[in-house]
Amino acid sequence: MATDNKYDRQLRLWGSEGQHLLNTSRVCMLGSSGLSSESLKNLVLPGIGFFTIVDDTLVTERDLGENFFVTQSDLGKPRADVVKTYLLELNPDVQGESLIQSIPSVLSNPSFFQTYSLIIACQLSFSEIRTLGAICEQNNKKLIVAKSNGLLGYLRIYCKEHLVIESKPSDKEIYDLRLYEPFPELLAYAESISLDGIQDIYHSHIPFIVLLVKFLKEWTETHGTKPRNMEEKTRFKDFVKGKSRDFFAQLNFQEAVSKAYLCFLEEKLPSEVMDILNDEKSVNADVNSEDFWICAKAVKEFMDRNQTVPLSGIFSDMTSDTNSYITLQNIYKNRADCDYIEVLQNYQRIKGTNQEPEIVRQFCKNLQTLEVTRFRSLESEFLSINAESIDEDEFEESKSLEWYLALRALDWFIQDQNREPTQDDKETLIKHTETLGKSIASEIAEEIIRFGKSELHCISAFIGGALSQEAVKLITHQYTPINNTFLFNSVHTTAVVLNL
């Protein structure tokens, strides 16, 4: 073994900062069925700090086929306690306790939840979920609710506001090169490099950034303006191409043409990020605000004063000789450092401190991909489903909403009638979903009744996996969580996110 760090494979995703947040997190798990233990297992393994399992259910024969963290010899013992003991064997770094108390009795004492960073509730009844939702809304707690019934399962996230600095988007490459309006040091460096009379090998290793800065300047001087429309942009690309000695052999010129679009755009922040900087929490940030919002205000002040965005310093690989690459990288890095210092000074003034917390640098570096997510509360969902957000033309989403409503109707029925429905209750279930906003198809009602309260281990394991991924995102403040419901349907092997 080349490393003795058991967390090596996950540190490569969320780094030591993310790991620290995990190690110091406190998770409260309501319920101790298969779904609870599967979810918690995937949080104990990567190393959360502490967990409490709340449940007064005893281990029965049925648990043996649903829950991996109980055994035959545990029959009749408090399930929360048994599950806790086996889960703790997975990771000696994690502390955990069980609270053998009924869930309603814990819910009657909202202050119980005060010390937890995340609350997870599995297989709770309809009214329990509703009460818990209200507690989390009033006390600003992060909550994940999950269910597993037959071949169906879902998870639902609620928190007032989730802030993400490192969203690490998987789908876009981030450039922050200031080619449209090069800053003085960049311009000076580009101008110091001559393309004439140098050997081919050097000509082929000039970074595309230098090429574009030079050619855009030359073009602008000739034409009196930067390329504005489609036609001028195409001509500019041909102009760049024309400057090469052998276009098909010169990778740097090919990169210049393919990245030429970066010259045509004024460097602005995405509108979602501008919304964050202009959010009233940013505008009104003061000593008592969260660091995130103080950073937002500090950046906004920078932008108002300099009429430009602080440079991120993000710099990726490109065709270049070593020396030019390192020089250019340092030009960007130094500029980003200067901008950061100014933002830091703003931050320190607002916060009334002379400390230099890492968050300010991270904030500047990841400015383009900041995220603030606000979740619809469970109570407002129970009052009315956010039906507009569901596109009826999207067949899968629309069908999934029916499955979700069917589960809600099942929950309601079990609570209302104190029994599981039979096929004779089909119409009652369908009628109930009408009151929820959408009538479900008859075969969906039949299937839901067929499932009843049965919990299949592999469905719980799937939902437990998705749930723990989302929990890690909420705890580490990295990556983007779903907003707000994820439904897995193993009848059709489909999974969708619904914003309810």
């Binding site: 080349a2 490393t3 003795d4 096929q423 009744i449 592999c458 723990s468 991924q469 999974a495």
Partner: protein
Amino acid sequence: MNTSSLSPKDFIPGEDTMSMLTEYARVLVIGAGGLGCEILKDIALSGFKDIEVIDLDTIDITNLNRQFLFRKENVGEYKAEVAARFIQSRVLGCKVKAHTQPIQDFDEDFYSSFHIIIAGLDNIEARRWLNSMLHSMVKFDENGEILPETVRPLIDGGTEGFKGQARLIIPFKTACFECTMKMVTPQQRFPLCTIAETPRLPEHCITYAQIIEWEKAFPEKKLDKDSPEDMNWVYQKALDRANHYGIEGVTYMKTIGVVKNVIPAIASTNALISAACVAEALKVATYLSNPMDNYFMYMGQTGIHTATIQIEKDHECLVCSKKPINLTVSRNSKLREMIDLLKENKKYNMISPAISGMLGPLYMPKPPVLEEKHRFKLDLTFAELIDKNYFRDGDGLIVTDPSFNSSLTLIVNLV
């Protein structure tokens, strides 16, 4: 559970049916790593009782953040053995037999003795071989119809970081693993001239130290990627080189990442992909609902995006199309060029093909004695091969490659 109109027609209601089907079904789990541990747990709790598991790996400390059947004191033991022991002790009445040999050591009779095969592998080579094996087991009647009793479904899972996929392969019915080889993104490699002459990234320095400097310093010794001493040596050399050029970011962790091509792995993704695989196994075995058709993917990094897609069969697939490989080759091209094509073209992706014809072997990559004997033919053109009577125009050739468990037919059209 009761019956319902969404279940397949032949579904017979009642828990008895389900338990009967799962109890008698023999399941083979391939891999006892991140996915394998989860798969074993899930199938054991789904009622399957007759399980075997194959994995030749031993337990490493970096497995412990997700491979939950292992403890620190198990480090160094065989994964398959520890996993089998654990499942049997936890799930009453479940029988798990462990194997610690490579999958290639097992024959058709072995694989045929299972009803379902679930694979949680971390490499392409083993997947290709397994896919090829399960296809070669299928027999056809005189009309060319598949004999259903010879078909063994393969459920295959894979993960990387927050994303993963589960797929169901029914030999000759659905697209197979080989059909989608083109979708596999090859491991990123840096051009030699970049790492040698214009290094810019820490990765360039690490690769240089690993390939060029190690070879120079220890021409007789292979780099042991699991040895802290060897890895430290590479790290120090990479660091020196980076410092020389002013490149930042060479760390020991990064060095391991680059040299071992470490793929990030987390418990949650393994859990959900394994569960998706076992849900399919359950559907295949019990008719609980229709199995998926045929590929499910999950991307959890930015929100959650999933897709269930029906991957089409490749009608020229080397494994499931039952068609020979057809190559048009110039009389003046050398045998080496054709072999390179078989290796480098994404359609074939072979590792080290051995080729023989009606007149005997044309080229054998191993053992070294045979390789040496046939090597001179690599630089002969097809015209010369015909002249010297090593090859006859129009003859079919037989190709064997470690990617496939059986040989392929190759038709060369000379022009």
